[in-house]
């Protein structure tokens, strides 16, 4: 019953007018792995992730997410995934607890389930005492962890994170990645985009995107070996510019 891959894309393409944002990419993501999309700004990471989440129809190509076709079974796809967009996407003008309640409700959780989830999430985040605070008063790092928590309320099997740590301090980023590891250990597939090279090192496998195409795919170790370079950053620069930046 469980599909072979958590995510499986074939020749996925998206044009905006004459411009090709995603240029026929193909890849498979295994269950429970942390899969990274590494690429500069404008590489097409967000466009790819939005297609996989059913937010944007592909121009051509196909993909399955959690075994569902992103074209014909959008509704099922949406029920199976969690998504955290690159923009902070909670409501600033309602409280922390109300945001959790709202997203829980929208995902169709029962009142009891929402209450229980909310309690444990707030405890995990150390926000139990701040649940009545307006969300806008939280520091960005907390907000992003809260957003992640709400995206996970319905216990999706796959979570898509689009530059989840953009703009936050290193400590918060480390905390965030600790949560990602815990998720993966519990069997959740994590699909994450980033342009931070150090974060790419934390992934099980990464695909390096450049101008809408995947130019390399593999585990950080394998990629470093393949190109004979010491860090993912070197591999990235080598692939993008054809030189090695030392």
């Amino acid at each position: 019953m469980t599909p072979e891959f958590a995510v499986s894309a074939r020749e996925l393409r998206r044009n905006f007018g004459a411009f090709t944002a995603v240029d026929g990419i193909s890849f498979d993501v295994r269950h429970g792995e942390i899969f990274g999309f590494l690429g500069a700004n404008g590489a097409g990471k967000t466009t790819a992730i939005r297609m996989l989440c059913g937010l944007l129809p592909p121009t051509s190509g196909s993909a399955t997410v959690a075994g569902y076709d992103i074209g014909r079974q959008v509704h099922q796809v949406k029920g199976a995934i969690g998504y955290m967009s690159q923009r902070f996407s909670l409501y600033d003008d309602i409280s922390v607890g109300e945001n959790i309640e709202f997203y829980g409700g929208v995902y169709g959780l029962s009142r009891a389930a929402i209450a229980a989830k909310s309690k444990s999430l707030l405890a995990d985040l150390g926000l139990s005492d701040q649940r009545h605070l307006l969300t806008k008063s939280l520091p960005l790092g907390w907000k992003q962890r809260l957003a992640l928590g709400t995206a996970l309320l319905h216990e999706p099997s796959i979570i898509f994170l689009d530059e989840p740590t953009g703009g936050v301090d290193p400590i918060s980023r480390r905390r965030f990645w600790r949560i990602i590891y815990e998720l993966a250990e519990k069997g959740t597939t994590v699909f994450v985009t980033t342009h931070y090279m150090d974060e790419a090192e934390y992934c099980n496998r990464i695909s390096i995107m450049h101008q809408g195409a995947i130019v390399a795919l593999g585990s950080p170790t394998a990629l470093k070996q393949e190109y004979g370079l010491g860090t993912v950053q070197d591999v990235f620069v080598h692939l993008i510019t054809g030189t090695t930046d030392r």
């Binding site: 989440c53 949406k78 996407s89 409501y91 003008d93 309640e101 929208v106 995902y107």
Partner: protein, 374 residues
């Protein structure tokens, strides 16, 4: 269903946490009723009149006296110099000039068609029209009294007014602007709350990215739409009740007709404006754009509603456009129900027109919303 409840709850939380919004929703109607109800004078009192009496007879003095004693007129001067009248009108010191020519009484007695001349500053066509109505009322009353005193005058006087026009403003006896303006305020408030709040509410979620977050949940677009419109429809009704309450408290004017009918008609009307709000949200990328488009629609709808300019005074091509304007029908319906207590059976054409417009706009809005948001 549950999803919709959560959406509605969230929307109300956002609205009521916003102090500015709460103030806006509750204070604006009071101010509008107070200011518009008193300032937009379609009831014309204290019209400044200048008189010129070339006759100086008991009859002419009687006529002048009637103007002096009317609460609609204020006689600013009785001018001896006829040529001064135009100057006074030009300066704006008076908006009406009544000229009683020499031999007015003689002509009356001799059955030789007595006449008076009336000069009107028609810059404000509405007010001057209403003032004219008052003048003709006074003049006719004067005639009638004169005939009573001297039946012999009946023949010549009748000659001056072959067709007797005697306006009786039944439901609004003194053409009180308050009564006339209330339906207008209700319509404007409903338009504001529904078109503006709906479109800007949705566009704001576009701007901050929460709409995308919602679209990635298994929520259906119809649930999203219903969850968005229920709060604003409810607010619209609250505003209506507020206006009705204030109007009763401040001016002592209550509703004559059926309240459920009034609300049912308002519901029909609101569907169009909510639909427009949704439609605008699919076009606008920013709240500012939504505001501009909303203004555009609102100004057009109000100007072409017959509220400011009587529809009969518009050129035929423009008149044709007003048939597609729901505000046009809604104002009629509001006035009829509010002031006359008219029942549904006499409001069928308006109700049907609003239903057709609502259905068209709302369907278009939902289809477009679904296609733009996938």
């Amino acid at each position: 269903m549950q999803q919709i409840l959560y959406l509605v709850q969230k929307e109300f939380r956002q609205i009521f946490r916003d102090r500015f919004m709460v103030g806006f929703l509750f204070i604006v109607p009071i101010i509008q009723i107070f200011v518009l109800g008193n300032a937009v004078t379609t009831n014309v009192v204290n019209v400044k009149v200048v008189m010129h009496d070339a006759d100086r007879t008991p009859m002419s003095r009687d006529l002048i006296g009637r103007f002096t004693h009317s609460r609609y007129f204020r006689v600013v001067a009785v001018e001896d110099d006829y040529t001064a009248l135009t100057r006074i009108l030009d300066r704006g010191d008076a908006s009406l000039a009544l000229v009683i020519p020499r031999h007015f009484q003689r002509d009356a007695v001799n059955r030789d068609r007595p006449a008076v001349q009336l000069l009107v500053d028609a810059l404000d066509g509405n007010s001057s029209g209403i003032a004219l109505g008052y003048v003709s009322e006074i003049v006719q009353r004067y005639q009638a009294d004169a005939v009573l005193r001297d039946p012999a005058l009946a023949a010549p006087m009748a000659g001056t007014h072959r067709a007797e026009l005697e306006p009786r403003y039944w439901y609004n006896p003194e053409l009180e602007s308050k009564v006339y303006i209330i339906p207008g305020i209700m319509a404007i408030l409903l338009v504001i709350v529904t078109i503006f709040l709906t479109s800007m509410g949705i566009v704001r979620e576009k701007e901050i990215g929460t709409l995308e977050q919602l679209m990635v949940t298994p929520i259906r677009s119809y649930q999203l739409i219903v969850g968005k419109i229920i709060p604003f429809a409810a607010l619209g009704f609250v505003e209506m009740i507020l206006v009705m309450g204030f109007v009763y408290l401040i001016f002592g004017i209550g509703i004559t007709g059926s309240i459920p009918l009034l609300f049912a008609e308002a519901m029909l009307f609101i569907f169009t404006t909510l639909g427009l709000g949704i439609l605008i949200s699919t076009i606008a990328e920013t709240q500012q754009q939504a505001l501009f488009i909303g203004w555009f629609f609102m100004i057009f709808a109000m100007l072409l509603s017959g509220f400011f300019i009587p529809i009969a005074n518009m050129p035929p091509s423009i008149q044709a456009i007003t048939y597609a304007n729901p505000v046009r029908y809604f104002l009629i319906v509001l006035r009829e129900i509010y002031l006359k207590g008219t029942g549904l059976s006499d409001l069928i054409p308006e109700t049907l027109s609003m239903a057709v417009i609502s259905l068209t706009v709302f369907t278009a809005a939902v289809l477009r919303f679904r296609s733009t948001l996938r």
